[in-house]
Point group: C2
Chain length 343, copies 2
Amino acid sequence: MKDLPPKAPAPPEGRRTTIVTLSRQIGVAPSTISRALKGDTRISAETRARIARLAQELGYTPHASARTMSSGRSGLIGVVLGPPTNPFYTELLHEAVRQAAGRGMRLLVIHAGAGAIEDLTADALLQYQVDGCLMTSVELPSHVGAVCAANGVPVVMVNRVARLNCSAVTCDNRFGSRQLAELLVAQGRRRFALVRTSTSSSTGQERDQGFCEALQAMGLAPPRRLDGRSTHQGGYAAGQAIAALPPEQRPDAVFAVSDVMAMGVIDALRMAGLAAPRDMAVVGFDGLPAAAWPHYDLTTVEQPLPAMIGRALDLLRARMADRGLPDETVSLRGRLVVRGSSG
Amino acid sequence: MKDLPPKAPAPPEGRRTTIVTLSRQIGVAPSTISRALKGDTRISAETRARIARLAQELGYTPHASARTMSSGRSGLIGVVLGPPTNPFYTELLHEAVRQAAGRGMRLLVIHAGAGAIEDLTADALLQYQVDGCLMTSVELPSHVGAVCAANGVPVVMVNRVARLNCSAVTCDNRFGSRQLAELLVAQGRRRFALVRTSTSSSTGQERDQGFCEALQAMGLAPPRRLDGRSTHQGGYAAGQAIAALPPEQRPDAVFAVSDVMAMGVIDALRMAGLAAPRDMAVVGFDGLPAAAWPHYDLTTVEQPLPAMIGRALDLLRARMADRGLPDETVSLRGRLVVRGSSG
DNA sequence: GCTGGATGCGCGAACGTTTGCGCATCGTTG
DNA sequence: CAACGATGCGCAAACGTTCGCGCATCCAGC
């Protein structure tokens, strides 16, 4: 099924090429076609080859709905996406689309954005018989979770710890934050500020805690905490607040628990005439492409997004094949990327 | 079908509630249930009410695949999304998700990113019988277009002029750019630079032309052109190049044909010790939320995204109902948003 | 020559919905 | 009183796949 020749986009005849079309032309039963195309070895290699050839010649494409009807599997993965204010979700979606295609899965966007999910929206899960669900939103999409649980649809949370009955894939937030703390301390920084998230984001909490524990372990005072609301604007506001502090109270290092907030901090500092790392080190977490821009040159922990999505899809696939597999939580270590902003 | 009460997430019995379940309980034929739920007036109002009540009680949800099989319509809209480097596409996706849900449509992500679309990916269009396709990518997704055309799937391009046989919804790029040119000239700017896109993006071309025509009409010299590659980084590089010019050759105004590049320009200027609008006015196009940040305070033309998506979905819906409607191109005027960066 | 297992394939039901057509029943009109 | 048009609903055939069985055919072994 690899390098196909040009391939006629559509059979000239009005009707779609189906398994029955093929079966008649070859002279075997439709069930044989179905099995052959799946590579069932009970069908002779020769017959399989003939069928594959004809299928390609006629531009046969399986009808997903028909398959869903009879097999119960749709090949669809429902996706619940976080708000557009954090580019991380955009990266995540792109990676998910890319990897899903390679596994014969498609992404059905159930919901995108910050708001809660309406019942009507969540119904898509049932209507389209999604095989699994990928959730990335920071907020807990209550109804979707309930629907999935009630219908045995496996759920995997990405970048968020599991709630309800579901699996999860996250970056090792504590470890990453500890690395950042240790880096900063090694650079000589001693007075810390932490820009946290306001929502009950588990990811934010873990990064917060990991950082503080590391400071404590090194015998340092806990950081001054500011709310960054998970957005650039929130980080900007926090940066302004920090810049407005009298110099003797100013931290010499700022950890924003997500890159997008760290960028806000940097921009605010710069507007106030301060610069990272000259006046203050700034570090983030996520590993957004933008963190690498010379403008930010942000030290951060890069989440292993490809690996995370890969594991998430694998977890889903395993649970589609065998509901009843226990929930699983996977934590992957990110990569500390030291750039200029940390001094 | 509005304010539903809590609604049992799933019927306790193992099997899904179908139209047949309902028909048996009510004592009418399945076809009657089907018609009643669609509000067919051939079914008496009383029967319809009874059916609606039971359906809700049992938590009936139509089976999308079954519907697709028999009616040929899937309720799915294929989406081809541009690269993650331009936040505009993220905004677009979110708006599309929001509006599609309200119309009983769902979004199936066919492809996301900058690269060309593989045949295997495009096959999803056929497999899932998408009713229509929304394309936003800057690049021309050749194969998808061909597949759609060959199978009578209506296509609407958003933020891109029509090619092949399809409709399109765009912002009035020429008009918007002209407004920007006139604004800048009114502010006393005379020496212009234009940061354009390298790809053969129709949108970029139109904005470029609109701006230049306006300058010409006002008797001014054409702008110096730089390539911004449609990314922040590209804009940044262009900004660096501009900042590196000897002062007497420097433009006093820069038009980047998309906000994301304009932001790159601003960041580069700032890094070089220059500032907008003090040393140079900078304006963009798109109306990204980020343009409003105090950090950028970017004058721009805001694309009427909600209206654009709305029109796009309406165009699709009309063409699903009646293939054979002629292709249509809709151009909507954006709103000039004057902020600080234009001086 | 008969049993026994591969090997290779066909039969037919099932999945849940839509939809064209047709058939009662009822009230109205000529 | 017969003919007739509404009104309200049922019948049954699709739609394209999958999958549990079951049935030939063939070859080997006793």
